[in-house]
Structure formats: C-alpha cells, structure tokens
Symmetry: C2
Subunit: 372 residues, 2 copies
C-alpha cells in the first residue's frame, strides 16, 4: 500500500502539501526524514523519535548490508522489529555510501565493485543486490540503485553515468517486481548540475515509471544558489501526483527553498551530526553550545522551542554535558535539533495550507538573521 | 527533614527493611544509588532513571567542584534543577576522587592539596570546603570529608588517618551546622581492614553524632571474603536506628552480602560502567554482549527481566549497536543494568518483609551459577 495525495498547492509558490499513506502509517508532506544509518538514529530512542514528530526515518543499505548484514536482519523479522521502530522506513540504495565511504571501486554496467570501509572486503553491488538488501530490511520505500555523480563532473561523464543510472533504475524496478513487491519504489534523477541532463534523466525515469521521484547528487559542495536552480528546473519536470524527494538536503534554508520549489521529502545528517558536535539549530540561527558565553546561561537553547530539552534544561547544563563529553550531550542535542527540523516542516505544511508560504519564508529569514 | 524508619528485620539474618523520608521524597531501604558523577547518570535521562526505579542518585563533589563549579550550579538553582532530577541526591565528600583521580597530593590536618585531573590546577580541599560544595549543590544527604585509605595499608597509617578523618568529620558537622543545615549528614567509618580500628572509628563518629553512618575504604581490591568480614564486624557497631551506607559497593553478590549483614544503602559505578563496556547483568549471571554467540540471538538480554530494553530489543540488536559503537548501546545497556540492580534491591526488600532472606540469597546464588 502506497498512495500519495496532494492536498493543496500554495498560492504564491510551488510549495505543496500532501500526505503519503503506507501500511505502516501516514506521512505528512513536506516531511524531513531523520537518518538512521546503522539501525538507529544516533542517540534517539524510538519513543523520542515519535516525541519529536518523526513520521518516517531513513535506513542505510550500505551500512546494514556490511554490518550486521541484511539476511541477519531479515531472519530477525526485518529492520522495523530489529530497531523497534513501527512507523515507515525509507532505505537508500547504497549508491551514495559506496562512492563516499568505500575504497577501490570500479563501475561498469553490471554494478559497482567496492571495498568495505570496515574490513576491506570486496563486494559487488548491483541494482538487483541493492533491491534484495532493501527488501530483506523490509523498507516501506525502496530507492533505485544509482551512481551518485561527484561534484563537479564533466558533461560527458554525467551523460554516461546518468544514462547508466536510468538503466539501473529499470533493473531495480524489475528486481523489485520479481519479489513480493510490498514496497514502493522511487527513481533517482541524476544529471549533475546540467538542467538539460536532469530533464533527460527525469524523462528516462518516467518512461520506466516509479511511485515517487528523487533528486540525487545534490548537497555535494555546490553553491546553494546552484542547488536551488536545480530544484527549480528539475522539480517541475516530475509528475505532480507523485512525491518528490530531495536527497541529502539540507540546511534549514535548504529545506525552505526546497519546499518553495515543490519538494516533498528531505533527509540529511545535518541535525543529528551537528548535534553531536554541539551545534544547535534555533529559530534565530545556529548556536554553538560550547561557547563560553553560555557558561552560566539559564535560558533554554531556544526560548521559542517547546521540545523536551528546552522545557527542562539550560544552555549552561548542555554546555557542561558537551564539555564533559557526556552521552546525554549527544542525546539531548540530537533531540532538540530533530525537533527543530520536524517543527520547521510542520510550520511549512501549515503555511502552505493557509496560502502564506511567502510570508513564512520571509519570517524564517528575518528570524534567522537575528541570530547572526 | 530526614527520618529513617526501620520497618522489619529479617528473622534469619541481619538484613533489614526500612525507609528514609526526605523533603524530596521517600527512599526504600535497602537501596542502590546510581552514580551521577558529572551531573548526569551516564546515558540515562531522568525519566529513564525513574522508570528503572531509582529513588536517589549520587553526585560527585570532586568532579562538580572542578567542572562546572559548585558556585555556578548554586547560582543556577542547585544540582537538582541543573540536571532535572527531582528526587533525592546524595553527594560524596570528594575524598575518594582526590585520592583516586588527582595528582601530587599532600595531606595534613587542614586538608588535602591536589592537582586537578582536568587542567593540573592546584586546590586545597578541606572538610569546610567539601561541605560548602555539597551545600551549594543542594544535596539531600551530605557526606563528611574523609581520607579514603588505600588497600593494603599499614596499621599505624590506618590509625593516624582514621583518627584524622574522625576529626574532619567533626569539622564537617560544625561546618554544616554553621550553614542552613537543610541536609542530612553521614559520617564515614574508616579503619582499613582492621576490625578493631573500624570499631574505634565507628565510636569516634557516634561520639560526634550523625544522621547516618557509612563504611568507607572498601571495594578497593581486597578479597570479597575480607570485605564481607568487615561488613559483619563493623555494621553491628553502628546505631540500629540510623541508615548504614556501604560506599562504592559493589557486585550483585556484594549487595546481597551487604544486605545480609545489615547494610541499607549502596552505590557503585559497576552497573553503569559495565554497561558501556557491553557487560550486562542478568538473573543468570553476567553476559558479554559482544560475543559472537549472540550474533543472531533473538532473545532479550534476560528473558526473566521486564525492563524496557528486554521488552523491545534482542541480544542481536544490542550486539550490533555495541560493535557499531552506537550511542544507544550505552543508553540501552545502562538502562538494563540499572533496572537489574534496582530490581535486585526490591527483591531483597520483599524477602526481608517476608522473613525469607536466606531463601532469596540461596536462590540468587543458584540462579547466578546457571549463567557460568
């Protein structure tokens, strides 16, 4: 079961509100998906994820394939049961990590040969294996296998790679159809920073046909203006009646700009990784909790925030935990940051419903500037 | 407000059941106190501490004095508010950590000069400062300042040190009385492994008069048989109408043997530190979660345990988290171990009430042996 319903399009932008129905529950869009790389969103119990409003989380095929192994997870009842998470899970294809984490890879039509970052063992990852892993994990939304093209990249390479990713996407779909096909399948638009190649990729994928469409190969170091141009040129090429997922994105501003251009789904390690480094997101900008100015600060991280952390703990306490390298520093900081991200998305959904997204966006930038 | 009520003494042992009333709530004895060294019980949110049944926790004067500083905590409303813990807190005197963690110390009648393990700064810790720190933290139970005598130690040194600790205990009481005296004060019996010197220390402290009495200088590497002899010879010398606290103890067996000899209160880093090293306590003995035998084990850590972790997670998942060095490994393992410790104490309290402590103790050892 997978159904996307478009509820409303903002009168003054491409922003849109909708919801996805899955067997494991409903996902309100636009949505942010916390990243649970190794079968856990770092530092977050499932109950805490529900408390901050997570409706779907992301699992990483590459990591779970290598450790503890997808067959092990399948035999133990799937990733949901393994990690005690009952709401939907989207798994990536493994493509991104193969290119960003592993060593000595070679790519050909068949797939990618890589060496594990854990033990150096060699593996061949193909579209068929990627789908098999994601099915074994029991994902609700499965991503087609693709090559994440580095940035910058030459046009010729982008064409060859994107065309191959489209063929891999077709093989991914065929592989999933040979299985029990419980999961929804999303195709991933490549094409680098070339709008016409993005269009070519988007068309190739629509010719195959997917339940949803993603923009891949973004947030790899390109300027945000360029990133937003790709959002603006590529998202309208995707079918309006399917969810549009912007992968690996991004900062709070990236989310606002992505939604403004018609994005429905987002994921990024930014809120969780920043939390572990003591960087907290607030309605008035980023806050580095280790700074000495917070030494005796009895205020919550964000006085405008109603999360568990802001209701119970001072900046001084969070600074102390961070400097003392305490586990709760990561736990509390992650909780706050994910609450911030999910509340930001909720705010955007409400703004779309009320046709005041432009106002929301202006307020967002005005408030963020206050924190500078 | 501090009142100890003895409810019942077991018919077949020295084990006893009672309760302590404090302004921040009731403490059922015998009790185990989780250790919250740096203003947090590592990996445990306050709500989780309440869930596992923690009725009182321990804070460390040495650590909090050095970082973030007791005056800072006082200005922020005290340790309870700082760390969001509403139930009672007992603070140690700092004596133990000065001797175990810091460098280049010298001891004289005035106090102890030590160098911080954090930055090498020099400090003089006296009974008066220890009490001032504990008062600033807002502890419900304050410990008299003492020297924790190393093991083994010569008799002459033990006499001189213990006599000085008794004088420091008197100064601690005087210092607390000069303050607002909101907190209860416990004296700490020293005397090394010499029963007659323990008796001498116990008498000196009773001549001063305290709200409760502790045995210090134990669990420092001595054989458990010797430790239990000290329990047996020293605890009966303490007034029956005051709580008796065995400091820094210990293993589950130590707790059973301590209660059997009349101990009421215990603290130890064992459940929390072991958890972070992947060692889990169960009704059938210790379990090292990293072992390959648990790779695909779908059972909970302890099928006899009703804690949050055992209700929701498999050994295979906990092993995966541990090997992947995930934050939740420490969080979940600590939760389980503290639940085990606190449930063990609860079982002993029930056994005392029913005059079947001997049976409880036999069952405990029978079950623990099964795990070997």
């Amino acid at each position: 079961m997978f159904k996307f319903t478009l509820l409303h399009r903002d009168a003054g932008s491409e922003a849109r509100r909708g919801f996805i129905e899955t067997a494991r529950g409903r996902i309100e869009t636009p949505i942010f998906m916390p990243v649970g790389t190794q079968g856990t969103v770092k530092g977050m119990l499932p109950e805490a994820l529900e408390e901050v409003g997570a409706q779907i989380i992301l699992g990483n095929t590459y990591h779970l394939y290598l450790r503890p192994g997808h067959e092990l997870i399948r035999r133990l009842g799937g990733l949901h049961r393994f990690m005690n998470w009952r709401r939907p899970i989207l798994t990536d294809s493994g493509g991104y990590q193969v290119f960003s984490l592993s060593r000595l890879r070679s790519i050909d039509e068949e797939g990618v040969v890589f060496q594990s970052h854990l033990d150096g063992s060699r593996h061949l990852l193909t579209p068929e294996l990627s789908i098999a892993v994601q099915e074994a994990l029991g994902a609700d939304i499965v991503m087609a296998f693709d090559e994440c093209i580095p940035y910058p990249a030459e046009r010729d390479y982008v064409i060859a790679s994107s065309d191959r990713s489209s063929r891999w996407a077709q093989r991914s779909k065929a592989a999933l159809q040979r299985g029990q096909r419980q999961a929804a399948l999303f195709g991933i638009v490549q094409g680098g920073m070339f709008p016409e190649l993005r269009a070519r990729s988007a068309q190739q994928l629509q010719d195959v046909g997917f339940d949803g469409y993603a923009l891949g190969g973004l947030a790899l170091g390109e300027e945000s203006a360029l990133r937003y141009e790709i959002f603006a040129s590529s998202l309208p090429l995707l079918p309006a009646d399917r969810p549009r997922y912007i992968m690996g994105v991004g900062t709070p501003a990236d989310l606002v700009e992505g939604v403004a251009r018609g994005g429905d789904m987002f994921d990024c390690v930014m809120p969780t990784r920043n939390a572990r480094n003591g960087v907290l997101f607030t309605t008035f900008g980023k806050l580095s909790i280790k700074q000495s100015r917070y030494r005796e600060d009895s205020l919550p991280v964000d006085p405008n925030c109603g999360c568990y952390v802001c209701r119970h703990y001072s900046r001084a306490y969070l600074r102390h935990l961070y400097l003392a390298n305490e586990i709760l520093a990561s736990v509390l900081n992650t909780h706050h940051n994910l609450h911030y991200y999910l509340r930001l998305m909720e705010g955007m959904r409400e703004a779309v419903s009320q046709d005041r997204f432009a106002e929301f966006r202006n307020d967002f930038y005005r408030d963020q500037r206050e924190g500078d």
